[in-house]
């Protein structure tokens, strides 16, 4: 998973935080304040009583920088657990994309063919537009969007990556 270009790797980091006001701002502020990248970010409460949220950040950096990011996250008071999913073992990472394509005629047919090949769901349709829903690895959604763009006006909404370790490992 972790591709390496000039010593940098992509890391998928999940943190379990108290679901309190400002906690997301703390995490984002840490990244911007210290000059780290955020490629994608997701957040939602995950406990039955909504008391804790899980934030998943996809970031890039050298091993040292990734370690620094984890250590800096560890300083934030409302953080319970931190997992570097891409380093700790196999994991699944998924993203959801909603892709609107506005087209008529042959491009519209082509869009349908591509959607079928990607097993994208059609969640909305008009005479001149589709909204496709696609779930999968970020690269798959990238590829789908690349194919759709030339076919007409496109509008993209992506969820960011949600990720979880395979097997019995947890950060609950």
């Amino acid at each position: 998973m972790s591709d390496t270009t000039n010593g940098q790797r992509t890391a998928t980091i999940s943190v379990l935080v108290d679901n309190e006001a400002g906690v997301l701002a703390r995490v984002i502020g840490l990244f911007s304040g210290r000059g780290y990248n955020i490629d994608s970010l997701t957040v939602a409460p995950v406990d039955a009583d909504l008391s804790r949220s899980r934030i998943t950040v996809v970031t890039r950096g050298t091993d040292l920088v990734i370690e620094q990011i984890k250590a800096q996250l560890g300083r934030l008071v409302p953080i319970h657990k931190i997992a570097d999913l891409s380093a700790d073992g196999p994991h699944v990472a998924r993203e959801l994309g909603l892709i609107k394509v506005i087209a008529r005629g042959e491009p519209r047919v082509e869009a349908l063919r591509i959607a079928d090949a990607f097993r994208a769901k059609i969640v909305d349709t008009t005479i001149e537009s589709f909204v496709f829903e696609l779930t999968g690895a970020s690269e798959k959604i990238d590829a789908f969007i690349d194919l759709m763009r030339p076919l007409g006006t496109t509008e993209i909404s992506r969820s960011g990556v949600a990720a979880i370790a395979r097997g019995t490992r947890t950060i609950i």
């Binding site: 108290d18 006001a21 400002g22 040292l64 250590a71 934030l76 409302p78």
Partner: protein
């Protein structure tokens, strides 16, 4: 529980609950400044006697005063300011405390909850503004959270790596009744910093120490924060092993300056022997210091031949700047104890002969006498600033009184660090990480509040002192006999020095034009003013100052052209120090890479 219910008291107002929680947390003094949003707290303060309030003249000073109080007592300092401008004025102090790991709780007023976000009068997004300026912050939106948040804030401020915590208090929360809860043993759901070191890491460190031939202890503010026991353990470790020891600016006092194992401060303006020993060591034992850029000099030339042990309470400090061989996470005191016990039980002291040879090498570096200066003694000679600090040190020592030194920021700060000998921890307060001009006077005020009978001296520059000079009023009001000892070189000396060395002596905007008459200024604030203009006056003025039981400003006219040496120029390595204007050890040209550094 039932007993309490039987009192059947109507629940107290939020402001009362707040004060009760502060009392339970051991708060005796609050440094603050009132305003509309915190009037309910001031009203509650008026009706009690347990907590003393010190009215400062500017909110920044309240925070620095609380820092001085915290650093001299080991307690959490407490600040109270109003919403909007009160909170924004406090921000510099908060960042200062964050950088130097000082435990504080700062209470800020806020507009009532229903007005938050409406651009109400004196509304500021205080939690937003202070989020990167604090260790943690809170906005109390529900009365039932109030007491718990206060307890939690104190726990967070003092635990792990200490730091400032803000509690933003909307006015309605202060007025509405709020339930009281006592502090619990589990003060926070998740925050539990690791203090006990890992035994395996201790063993690895001890093995490195045992086989070292040229070891050095490099210790910082972490030892001071770990309490006086940690400093005592450092002394024991040094005595047990004979290892030379250098302190950072924040760590001065951990090892007595008079201990023969003490190499002085290290870093940009550290001693030649400390920096050369850092450069030449084979095992570096860093305890509670963070490889600050003022300490390391050029990183790729930093102590190139050593194995490095780094003990720190904050995991993010480890491998942040310098990669180390043995990281140890935990409290400096507990780590020192573990190291000492292990070394003793294994008889793992480094080889005596190697240590002796290492000391011979260090002594030859010491012979450079890198802190030497020449004070002309002909009558009427201009005072060298180093001489002024030396005399201040010697005369305060002879007075036998417990002495606390604070500083402002600039050359005088470095001369104070170099020439005033600190024998004990917690007696030296300076703004290290942020380098905040205007820190010293309010910090001294906070120390004097905590230590009413001690001698508290702010070694100041004539430029810095003007940044919080209004606190002379606070000194007068509370009869705090703080001594301000100005090394008046009529320049922002540190700026002038850099301009001389790096910018072709173009002294752009660094002359202290239109200075006040500091003697009259002291008098106008009901204090005592003194002045020394030549070396003949110096001792007399110092002695008079020490005798005086009121606040004093002693304006000491010093040599305007003096620079702080030794100096590692920006971007240079430890072994490329400038020893003095005509004592260049190496003719170090400042590189372009060095020019961009601060």
């Amino acid at each position: 529980m039932n007993a309490e219910m039987n009192h059947a008291e109507t629940p107290a107002a939020g402001a009362q609950v707040l004060l009760r929680a502060l009392k339970e947390q051991g708060v005796e003094v609050i440094f603050g400044y009132p305003g509309g949003a915190v009037l309910p707290i001031y009203d509650a303060l008026f009706q009690q006697n347990a907590i003393r309030h010190i009215l400062v003249r500017h909110e920044q000073a309240a925070v620095h005063a609380a820092e001085g109080y915290a650093r001299s007592t080991g307690k959490v300092g407490c600040v109270l300011v109003t919403s909007g401008p009160g909170a924004t004025n406090a921000v510099t102090g908060l960042v200062d405390a964050l950088m130097d790991s000082i435990p504080l709780v700062c209470l800020t007023g806020q507009v009532p909850t229903h007005l938050i976000g409406n651009d109400a009068f004196q509304e500021a997004d205080t939690v937003g503004i202070t989020r990167p300026a604090t260790k943690h912050n809170y906005l109390v939106k529900r009365s039932e959270d109030l007491a718990r948040v206060v307890h939690e804030a104190f726990y967070v401020a003092r635990s792990g790596r200490p730091g400032p915590v803000v509690i933003d208090l909307p006015k309605d929360i202060l007025i509405k009744p709020a339930p009281y809860v006592e502090a619990t043993r589990e003060p926070h759901r998740s925050y539990r910093p690791q203090t006990e070191p890992d035994a395996a890491q201790i063993d690895r460190a001890v093995a490195l120490i045992q086989h070292s031939r040229r070891p050095i202890l490099y210790t910082g503010g972490g030892i001071i924060n770990a309490g006086p026991e940690a400093s005592a353990l450092l002394r024991e470790l040094v005595a047990e092993t004979g290892i030379p020891c250098t302190n950072t600016l924040m760590g001065l006092g951990a090892l007595p300056a008079s201990d023969p194992h003490f190499l002085g401060m290290l870093g940009m303006h550290g001693t030649y022997e400390a920096n050369m020993a850092m450069h030449g060591c084979d095992v570096m034992i860093n305890i509670g210091a963070r490889f600050d850029d003022r300490v390391t000099g050029r990183l790729n030339a930093f102590s190139p031949h050593s194995k490095k042990i780094h003990a720190d309470i904050d995991a993010s400090n480890i491998n942040k700047v310098v990669t180390v061989d043995v990281p140890i996470l935990g409290d400096a005191g507990l780590i020192l104890r573990a190291l000492l016990e292990r070394i003793r039980s294994l008889n793992a002291q480094p080889d005596r002969a190697s240590i002796t040879a290492w000391w011979r090498q260090i002594d030859s570096w010491r012979e450079k006498r890198s802190l030497a200066f020449v004070q002309p003694d002909a009558p009427g000679s201009i005072i060298k600033p180093q001489h002024a600090v030396r005399r201040l040190f010697e005369l305060t020592r002879q007075s036998g009184r417990e002495t606390f030194i604070t500083t402002e920021v600039g050359q005088h700060q470095m001369w104070a660090a170099q020439h005033f000998g600190f024998e004990r921890p917690n007696h030296w307060m300076t703004s290290g990480g942020l380098g905040t001009m205007g820190y010293g006077l309010p910090a001294a005020m906070g120390v004097q509040v905590a230590k009413p009978d001690a001698l508290v001296i702010d070694i100041a520059g004539e430029a810095s002192i003007l940044m919080n000079i209004q606190e002379m009023g606070t000194l007068a009001q509370y009869r705090l006999p703080v001594k301000v000892f100005i090394l008046n070189n009529q320049y922002m000396g540190m700026v002038r020095q850099w301009q001389e060395l790096l910018h072709g002596s173009r002294y752009s905007e660094s002359y202290s034009e239109a200075l006040p008459d500091f003697v009259k200024l002291a008098e106008s604030f009901h204090g005592v003013g003194m002045r020394a203009t030549s070396v003949d006056d110096l001792d007399r003025v110092i002695l008079e100052m020490l005798k005086c039981d009121r606040a004093v400003i002693a304006d000491i006219a010093v040599d305007q052209g003096e620079n702080v040496y030794p100096m590692i120029p920006s971007g240079a390595a430890h072994n490329e120090m400038l020893l003095g204007p005509d004592r260049h050890h190496n003719n170090t040209e400042v590189t372009n890479a060095g020019m961009v550094l601060v």
